[in-house]
């Protein structure tokens, strides 16, 4: 299994490269589910060790609130608030530190918002499931959209995926399952960015 990263700015492809860095939380979440066990401890994006029992959520990373499957931009009110969450789905940051498999979050996440240094998170969707016996391949895509309305330019140097890994107690816990350091992208005021991971298998 592997992932491929494509980033578009204003609909132009600016990065197209294999993703490098599934983090330790990903196999840990899988193993916990395989065993239905609480004996695996995983650090949440806050750096807190969590060791909950089997979970109803494993790698849930659509925008929450029931509207994540199809991204809806520009929605106001509570639905819009759901899309603006910054702890679930594709996330972006501004740090160039090399990836360590033990990373549990982006090093310097750019906050969702409209203020100085902030970029509006417009939601993450999971879509495009395909599989074919002929080519022995299968894949799906995870797409996040971001817009800079902060009034100034902002540099993006890292991207990743935050996924909800459990909800056994009714309280979601979020884990960083993938992080990539990228060539710096300067996103000017008014510009938008699409970050898409394609997860694929081939037997």
């Amino acid at each position: 299994m592997k992932a491929f990263l494509t980033i578009k700015k204003q609909n132009d492809i600016v990065i197209k490269q294999p993703a490098r860095s599934f983090l330790i939380a990903f196999p840990a979440l899988l193993a916990r589910q395989f065993m239905q066990s609480e004996d695996i401890t995983i650090q949440s994006i806050e750096g807190t060790p969590r060791s909950e029992d089997k979970a109803s959520h494993m790698c849930y990373c659509c925008s929450p609130g029931g509207y994540g499957y199809t991204i809806q931009m520009g929605i106001s009110g509570s639905y819009g608030d759901y899309l603006k969450v910054q702890n679930q789905g594709i996330v972006i940051g501004s740090d160039l530190t090399a990836v360590d498999p033990d990373n549990y979050s982006l090093n310097t996440q750019i906050n969702s918002g409209e203020g100085a240094g902030e970029i509006l998170y417009c939601g993450t969707s999971v879509h495009g499931l395909t599989y074919e016996d002929v080519g022995d391949t299968g894949s799906f895509k995870i797409l996040g959209i971001f817009k800079n309305i902060s009034g100034g330019s902002i540099d993006i140097k890292e991207v990743g995926i935050y996924a909800v890994g459990d909800a056994g107690t009714g309280a979601y816990t979020n884990f960083c399952i993938l992080r990539d350091v990228i060539s710096t992208i300067s996103l000017a005021d008014g510009e938008y960015l699409e970050v898409e991971y394609t997860i694929s298998i081939a037997s």
Binding site: M1, K2, A3, P18, R20, S21, F22, L23, I24, F26, P27, A28, L30, A31, R32, Q33, F34, M35, Q36, S37, D39, I40, T41, I42, Q43, P49, K54, A55, S56, H57, M58, C59, Y60, C61, C62, G66, G68, Y69, T70, V99, D100, P101, D102, S125, V126, L129, Y131, D133, D136, T137, G138, S139, F140, A163, V164, G168, I199, I201, A202, S203
Partner: protein, 229 residues
Amino acid sequence: MKSKDSVIGSVITTDKVRPKQVEHEGEVLLEMVYTVSDKSGKIKTQKTELGHSFLQNFIIALFGFFARYHCPDDDLVDTGGTSRTGSPTYSTSGPAYSDEVFDCNAPSTNDDFGVLIGTDDTAVDIADYALGAKIIEGSGSGQMNYGSHSTVSPVSDVGNTYSYAGITRTISNNSGASITVKEVGLVWSSYWDTSATRYFLLLREVLGSPISVADGEILTVTIRVKCFC
């Protein structure tokens, strides 16, 4: 919380069969560790192979668990070859509210799910839904006794190039004769489409070289989901 994998436990023989070089930056592979021990627990052989055979069932289910509430119904093929139309919403919110996402922790003597072994070496096809020739539970001719599972705790290496975690199972040969193992699978127990339990094959690996397990010996199969970065 986890350990750094600087030392692999002592073994009598260890060899990497395929691929020969670790050049898999960015990939998630299956590191399969096969250990044969005698009744006293003394290790006779240990072999490690890198595999990659995530199946169609796996990518469909994984998509579902990434999308969660927003996943349309899709078809998984159970180990009996029947297509089951369902979704992870049913799987995780069904009548038992089972939370059994990817439950592979079968108890001892259960050969319906968990880590299973077989004797067929037909090449892996992404649409495989069952082992080619599963070794069934028992002590009769050609049968083996499936043990319980245990956790492979999360590990990363000192050089920061990989991490892994996984599942392991011991399987004993008390059949009275040697048995040659050629394939390994991981089967998930689930409510996917109904309150009836379904079994879905997620992974299947054909061994690079078969393993002979003599009467009285124990085969331990470890599946590490290994992420290279």
